[in-house]
C-alpha cells in the first residue's frame, strides 16, 4: 500500500508555498491572462474599454455547491462560469471579467481540480470572459463537500439597453429558450441516490451569445435564467416585480422525454426543476416572432418556444393552462422538491 493519488492538503490553503504553486501551476496557467499573472490580491481593469461599450456595469455573484462535481453535460467549473456569465448577460450586459474563489475540502484529488479548472478556462473562452482574480481556501475534511466555487462577474451594459422585470407590460409574450428541467433531472440521475440512469445531459451553457442575437432582433423587456426554482420561480418573480399576471401554456413547454420520465417516476414538476442554460424572456408582442426566430437560429436557442402571455390582472399571479383548457395556479415553489410516493 503506497501513497495514493495526489490530493489537496491544508497546506494548499495556508497562504504559503504550496498555495502559491497551486495558484501558479493550475489557475494562472489555465486562465492565462496578464492581470491574473501579476498575482496581486486584486485585478486592475481599465475603465476606458468599458466606457467604450456602455454606460453601466452589471455586477453579479453566485456560489456553486453542486453534487456531484462532474455530471453529464458539465461540471461545477463550467457551471460556475456559465452561472455568473448568464446572470450578467440577463441585464443585457456584455460579460467581461470574472473572479473565481475556491473552497476546497482537504483530500480532493488534484486531478479532479485540474479537470474542473480546465473546464472553467474553456467555458470562459467560449463565453468571451477573462478570469482576472481569485482566491483559494482549503478546509478540513468534513468542513465542506469536496469543492465549492464562487464566481462574481462584471459586464458592461450598452446605454440603449434597459432590461428588468419592472418593464414587463400586459400583452407581452413569454419565451423559453429551450427544453426545461434538463439540469435538475441530469443531476438527480448523476447523484445516483435514486438509482436512476439514462442519457440525459445538463443544459449548462453560456447564454450571452444568445442574448446578443435576441437583442439584435428586437427589444426585450426582461430576461432571467431559470436556475433554482426553475420556470416557476422566474415567472413568479417577474409577475411579482412587474405586478402583472403571467399565463403559461402547459402544452407549449419544450420537454426532453427523459426529463418527463424522471419527473413521472419521482412525482416532480419540470416547471420547478433547475436549468443552467435556459432563459425566460419577456418581449413585446409585435417583436415576438422576430426574436423567437433569432433564438431558434442560435445554437443555444434552437428549441425556443413561446410559452405564455402577460396580462394586467390578477397582479403577481402565475397560472398554467392545462391540456384541456382549464387553468391552475403556479405559485412560487416552497422548499426543494422531494421525490414523492403520492
Amino acid at each position: 500500500m503506497l501513497r495514493e493519488e495526489e490530493c489537496i492538503t491544508l497546506a494548499h490553503g495556508s497562504g504559503g508555498q504550496a498555495m502559491q504553486q497551486l495558484i501558479e501551476q493550475y489557475f494562472v496557467a489555465a486562465f492565462d491572462n496578464a492581470e491574473l499573472a501579476l498575482m496581486e490580491d486584486q485585478a486592475q481593469l481599465p475603465l476606458a474599454s468599458l466606457n467604450g461599450a456602455g454606460d453601466r456595469l452589471s455586477f453579479a455573484t453566485d456560489s456553486f455547491v453542486v453534487d456531484p462535481l462532474e455530471f453529464p453535460g458539465g461540471d461545477i467549473g463550467k457551471l460556475a462560469v456559465c452561472g455568473t456569465v448568464n446572470d450578467v448577460a440577463m441585464a443585457g450586459a456584455i460579460p467581461r471579467y470574472l473572479s473565481c474563489s475556491f473552497i476546497i475540502e482537504e483530500g480532493l484529488p488534484l486531478a479532479t481540480l485540474e479537470r474542473i479548472v480546465a473546464s472553467m478556462a474553456r467555458t470562459a473562452r467560449e463565453a468571451g470572459v477573462q478570469i482576472v482574480t481569485g482566491d483559494t481556501k482549503v478546509v478540513h475534511r468534513g468542513a465542506c463537500d469536496k469543492l465549492f466555487i464562487n464566481t462574481s462577474g462584471i459586464g458592461v451594459v450598452p446605454g440603449d439597453r434597459q432590461l428588468g422585470a419592472r418593464h414587463i407590460q400586459p400583452e407581452d409574450r413569454v419565451i423559453v429558450s429551450g427544453t426545461v428541467g434538463d439540469h435538475g433531472a441530469a443531476i438527480l440521475q448523476a447523484r445516483g441516490e435514486l438509482a436512476l440512469s439514462g442519457e440525459l445531459q445538463s443544459d449548462c451553457q453560456p447564454l450571452n451569445g444568445l442574448v446578443e442575437a435576441m437583442l439584435a432582433a428586437g427589444p426585450v423587456r426582461a430576461l432571467r435564467d431559470a436556475t433554482r426554482g426553475g420556470v416557476a420561480a422566474v415567472a413568479n418573480e417577474m409577475a411579482s416585480v412587474a405586478q402583472v399576471s403571467i399565463e403559461l401554456e402547459e402544452a407549449a413547454l419544450p420537454l426532453h422525454p427523459e426529463v418527463r420520465g424522471v419527473s413521472e417516476i419521482l412525482g416532480l414538476d419540470p416547471l420547478l426543476m433547475a436549468n443552467e442554460g435556459k432563459l425566460i424572456a419577456v418581449v413585446p408582442p409585435q417583436h415576438c416572432d422576430a426574436i423567437l426566430a433569432a433564438m431558434q437560429a442560435h445554437p443555444a436557442g434552437r428549441e425556443a418556444a413561446v410559452i405564455g402571455t402577460v396580462a394586467a390582472a390578477p397582479a403577481g399571479q402565475v397560472s398554467v393552462v392545462g391540456l384541456f383548457g382549464g387553468s391552475r395556479l403556479l405559485p412560487m415553489p416552497v422548499g426543494e422538491q422531494l421525490p414523492r410516493i403520492c
Binding site: 438509482a195 420520465g261 419521482l266 391540456l323 384541456f324 383548457g325 382549464g326 422531494l338 410516493i341 403520492c342
Partner: protein, 369 residues
Amino acid sequence: MRFVDEFRDPQAVKATLAQIHQQLERVDPARKPLQIMEVCGGHTHAIFKFALGQLLPDGIEFVHGPGCPVCVLPRGRIDDAITLAQQHDVMLCSYGDALRVPGDLGSLQDAKARGADIRVVYSPLDALALARQHPERQVVFFALGFETTAPATALTLQQAKREGIENFSVLCHHITIGPPLRAILDDPGIRIDGFIGPGHVSMITGERVYDFIAEQYNKPLVIAGFEPLDLLQALAMVVAQIADGDSRIDNQYRRAVHSDGNPVAQQAMAEVFQTAPQSDWRGLGSIPHSGLMLTEAFAPWDAERRFGLDRRSVAEPEGCGCAAVLRGLMKPNQCALFGTACQPQTPVGALMVSSEGACAAYYQYRAEN
C-alpha cells in the same frame, strides 16, 4: 409515454364529457348536485392538475376522500419518528412526502435541520441498502401508505430477515382503505352518491374489498386509473349507475387491476403484517382494525419494540379543519386557517402538505375555485 398519453386525448375527453352530461340528465334533479368522492389522493391531484372540475357540469361535485396516506398521518406518529431519530440516534429513512408533515415536535425536516439523521429514499429497498452500507448504525424505515405501498415494506422485511440484516427495522404506519370508507359512510352528516375507487390500491387488493359499499350502503364505486380519460370515464360509469339506480363495484382500470388483485403481494402482506386493533387517523380519529402492525415473526424488525417507543397521541391543532374536510363536510377554503395560518410553506394540517392533500390542491389551483 405508453399507457399515459393515449388517455389524455383531448377529442376523447370532449366526447366523454358529453357522455357524462347525457348520463347526468337521466338523474333525478332533486339529487343534484351529485357528490362523488374520489377516494384516492392521486385522483384529487389529477382533478386539479388537469382542471377537470372546471370542465364538469354543475350537477356534479367532487368530495376529496381520505386516500392520501400523508394527509391522514396523525401528528403523534410524526413525533414518534422524530423521537426515534433524535433520542435513539437512528438513521431514519422515509419517503419525501413525509418530510414536511408537521407534528407536535415540528416536522422531520425541522428535526433534520436541527441535526437528526433523516434521509429521503425512493424505495424501502434503498433504506435496506443504507443499513447494509452502515452496519454500525441503526437504520429505521418509517413506513407509511395504504395497500399499494404495504407490499413493498413486506417484501423488504422478508429480504432483511432472509439476509439477517439486524440493524434495520420499520416504524410501521401502514393503513387500509376499507375501514375509513366505512367510517365515513357511517357518519350521519355525510351524503355521498358514489365513489371513484383507488386504482393502485385495487391492483393489490382486487375488487372484492369494496363489496360492502355496494351491498351494505347501496352506493356505486368504480375503480379508476389516473389519467384524465380514466377519471372521466369512471365518472360517467358512476353517474350511469346512479341514473339507473344501480350500486355495483365496477372496474374502469382493467389494464392494471385484476378482480382478484395481486396474490404474491397479498401473500407477503399476510406473512409480515397483522391487523392492528386500533389506528389513529388525522381528521378521522381512531378507527378499529384500520391499520397494520408486524406479526410476531417480524417482531425483531419492529422499531417500536426495538427502541421501546411509547406512541405519542397528540391533539389536532386548534382551529384545524382537517377532520371536516376529510369527511367532505367542508371545503378547504371554508377552514378558518386556510391560506392564512395554514399555507403550503407553513402547513397546520396535513391536507396542506402533500400536493395530494385537498387543501394544498385548493391552494395551488385556487384559480379555478
